[in-house]
Symmetry: C2
Subunit: 496 residues, 2 copies
Amino acid sequence: MRSALNNRLVLHILSFLLIIEAVALFLSAALAAIYDFDQIDHFSLFKSNGGFWPLIMGASIAFFIGILGWHFTKSVNKSVSKKEGYLIVAFSWVVISFFGSLPFYFSGYFPSFTDAFFETISGFTTTGASILTDIESLPKGLLFWRSFTQWIGGMGIIVLSLAILPLLGIGGMQLFAAESPGPTFDKIHPKVKEIAKRLWGIYVLFTLLEVGLLMAGKMPFFDAICHSFATMATGGFSTQNDSIANYSSYIQYVVIFFMILAGTNFSLHFYLLNGKVKQVWKNEEFRFYLGIIFVATLIISLGLIYNLELNSEKAVRDSLFQVVSIATTTGFVTTDYLVWPSVFWLILFLLFFIGGSAGSTGGGVKVTRILLLIKNSLLELKRLVHPNAIIPVRLNAKPVPQNIVIVVISFFLIYISIFALGVVILAAMGLDFISAIGVSASSLGNIGPAFGSVGPIENYAHLPHIAKWFSSFLMLLGRLELFTILIIFSPTFWRK
Amino acid sequence: MRSALNNRLVLHILSFLLIIEAVALFLSAALAAIYDFDQIDHFSLFKSNGGFWPLIMGASIAFFIGILGWHFTKSVNKSVSKKEGYLIVAFSWVVISFFGSLPFYFSGYFPSFTDAFFETISGFTTTGASILTDIESLPKGLLFWRSFTQWIGGMGIIVLSLAILPLLGIGGMQLFAAESPGPTFDKIHPKVKEIAKRLWGIYVLFTLLEVGLLMAGKMPFFDAICHSFATMATGGFSTQNDSIANYSSYIQYVVIFFMILAGTNFSLHFYLLNGKVKQVWKNEEFRFYLGIIFVATLIISLGLIYNLELNSEKAVRDSLFQVVSIATTTGFVTTDYLVWPSVFWLILFLLFFIGGSAGSTGGGVKVTRILLLIKNSLLELKRLVHPNAIIPVRLNAKPVPQNIVIVVISFFLIYISIFALGVVILAAMGLDFISAIGVSASSLGNIGPAFGSVGPIENYAHLPHIAKWFSSFLMLLGRLELFTILIIFSPTFWRK
């Protein structure tokens, strides 16, 4: 490892991402020009009710600064070490969220910059927590950009979790790599490019498929594309105030299906599309993921039929939808689960701490890690009975090295500790106990809806500003697998 | 390991413990005869208001069955393997609690057998959760037995955690052994006897000291001895309806001091009494334990002065008392902490998951384990920066082997998982969310007071019967370091 940090390279790559973001913003502005044409006031940038001018302004600023940064760091030393990798990952989400929030801020639909930033980072981290009290009043251009942030975030996450983090060795991610990590980090560029091409193809394909199936259920094109963006990114932003609640049961089942796909490891989709069905079905994480969804849905739907006397199709659909929405960390809502008897939303709450599969767009701890933890815990009992035998944890029939087991368990521990500290800090900021629990778990797990005053039919608007910033920080921490952010705060990182 | 379980030996030892319990019950009856003399109805066993006859009956039954069991298993093969060790540990607390609850049941002061059993196992596990709504109405004999169960439980725990569990290799307890474990489990008998003699001496000494100091503060002899029993066992049963709240601040400080002693590793007391002050002060667990108490007290007392405008001596005393009471898992109460702003009782709630030091009478996860977890988590960041270096966790300057790190982290994980499942199960039994959280954490951590409807000035009387049984099970699990109980439910344990 070289001694000096290559700051220029970090800036170079961040500038590049900013230019990409500017292109996405111009695209949204184009859409605003089509949909909100009559709202565009051609003589005043700031008094317009539409999203066009704010988007154009945001795009221009991002583009200008991106080009400047790109130009001044052009003569860069291209060799990259792990340290630069961490910095790029950590800062890209922050920088992109900052510039992405400008159109929201300029538009006047958001009461403060804090709110605009919260909504944007909630989008890019694919969380889906919203401060909007009347989503439907927003011009289409802004709504599109809002959903688009999630889709872009999801793209970033797939590459991050299947190509970049395994090379950085974050939180046991080596285990879930799309490819076995190369010998050095320097070779990352071509590998990342190749994996990205392959997996983004699947991501785009599924998104288009969902758009088609939603439109077949008579959802308008605009809403179909926004909801598909939010589904495939496991984000959860809707264009409707009632999320998915007022759509037909056909549409709800379509969304359920694609949420499940989005919460699955994208490497498995790649195998499946190449006809390797056996490899998919044999994958322990995938089976466990489906098992969790099945068992939780079974318990809750039986409970709803018995306790609330719902008819059984509605009970199964409601519980399946909520279970899948939380398990995949999407956060769409079809019913207010807080009116269920507490034991049933407590089961949902347990799902807050599992999350999607590794290599999916889902957040949270990740199914593989939980599976590894459970397996190791059961083996501890076996190890007590046979103290002299060496009994390794096996995942997909391969023994997992002890140091990786420690990394994975530590990840979970740090996750839980940050959650608990988060609750205390949010309570100190004035949140009641249940809301503090909800915001901490939901932000860290990139889910969106929570409990108490931030329940599924509520929003984050009423939180104090400082709590919105803290919640944003938790989203970032959770989305970037904790270590990427924490390491920057550690003294050893900056030493030498 | 031999193939057949030596059931006779298990029964032999349980019978022996039963005889000891009978002696303790006769002692309580003698005390009842002195204190409750005028309440004893000499002609009716069942209509008496005193505790004498119920205690005599309970003692006789325990004695009779103990002697019978002892006699019929006399010709026992004395060689003991780990499996018998587990069974003896797991069943002794259950058997002793069952027979110990008979006097309560016979007395008529307890509404049902469930309640009598709950109170007794809460005593023997040194939890201190009570179903009594008017403690002061109980005859002195029964109150004495109630406190006595805690003191006996504490005696059992000291030997269990410093001599037996390390030999069984439970939850990383090897690390905290009073002696390095011998080569085989067969040699356990003389070693346990020697450690017990040494540590029980200290336990008795501290108890007598506290009795003296409490009486110096004008507490009557009977209450002084009951409170000292409950303090040294980190139990928390009081003879007063208001726990320690109505006593003088001198008495409260005395109780604080002895709670701190009771929550400290008893090996350290042994070192201290032998003049090895340096060894005590250098002990990392001890420093961390005091550090936690100091920091939590500082935050809460400043918060109380600022928020509730208490005078500073009262604020410091109240917060120190509650912090120490929870941190050591005693559960005495001087103030209703639920009226504090939620962030302050949330800090107390974090302490629910730390517990006393290893080798103390305190329950919970144990300070050393938490210390090891924190150290390992911080090292994970260092390991990411230096991926090729081998960086072991060090405790008291000694590197901790990887497999022990895994055991300790797994212990915490299983602890947290049982807590979370416990919340869901208690909610399914009809408890509200906050009470379910409280009962689960408090039972598992052997603390006593909790939150919601089982807050510090409430009691467990109103819980449904099934929740009382479940809470009893959690107390047992937590007290016996999880694995001792869980292993009995594992199929590998019974195989072959």
